[in-house]
Symmetry: C2
Subunit: 206 residues, 2 copies
Amino acid sequence: MHFTLKDINALNYLYKINLINSVSGFKAANLIATQSKKGTTNVAVFSSVVHYGSNPPILGFVLRPNTVVRNTYDNIKETGFYTINHIYKDIIEEAHHTSAKYPAEISEFYKTTLQEEYLNDFKAPFVKGCAIKMGLKYLEEYHIKANDTILVLGEIVDLYIADDLVSKDGFVNLAKAKTAVINGLDGYAVPEDISRKGYQRPKKEA
Amino acid sequence: MHFTLKDINALNYLYKINLINSVSGFKAANLIATQSKKGTTNVAVFSSVVHYGSNPPILGFVLRPNTVVRNTYDNIKETGFYTINHIYKDIIEEAHHTSAKYPAEISEFYKTTLQEEYLNDFKAPFVKGCAIKMGLKYLEEYHIKANDTILVLGEIVDLYIADDLVSKDGFVNLAKAKTAVINGLDGYAVPEDISRKGYQRPKKEA
């Protein structure tokens, strides 16, 4: 099948968002949790978390305006802090339900079985049970002119990982963590076998 | 295990990049291919491709300066076009080898078994055999001040997908496509079962 830009733009809305959300490849499956100044918590599934750098440790994620996730943005702007927590096999259903559009005053922690966890006075809740969870400090944001989205960048200031997941060289086996991936808007999978390929050096001429 | 920002910054370099590259979650596995004005092609693995929007269809990816991938950037700036091709099960080894630092005048298509494919006069090569491949037109870029990286945004102007992968509602089953995911810097997996969870609506009060 071949779709030109003109074909894509002319597609039925639901077909289009399913199609275009699928073709970027598998996406990271994370829950971002925040707290307003008044103390109302929020947790929402995000598939756009991306590594920007290790030194300093920086992650980015993308917000689409006019969606429920503006609660996340507003809370981050109020407090300066948020958590990123890996969605894993046992919580996929509950994590995905956070994509439902609840009003800002209702916490998704109340509407799902996901549980808040407070660690070392961090100003946002972590998601209990996640093998990999991070506390981030807001750094900066970019308004994306092309489609009016927002890229938010933060620095990892606290990183919690289950002991048995970290290899001697720092590699974290995400299959052992049962970390999920997202396919399109609503597809989930849990990869089972990780094969490491090593650092690549140029081949010498034959 | 708990790492504070201070702990992370003090880690051995290799341990740190393995650790921090793992904790954002699984990453999309794509090959970005380009061609210089002089006709030298380039293909390189990228794990930072992210969906920015469907309407218009926009994808972003992140470039880290001082790496081999600047060839990709230079070619995109010269021609305005590039392709994004899903890494799939059978080409993981060859795709990962494109991370080796070859000089700009040597095409990774020459150093691997990956093959160029030219479709409908598009100004960059596609990667032959990939079930999902896209031609993109450069839109804009953002210089990320926090760590001197570059976010490049492009619009999908040509989308090629194997016929049997697209569901009636536009969803593309990436497990059927044998699309890979990346774990950290050098881990690969091929998810096998996708479970769709559907669109979520708020639960009514009990």
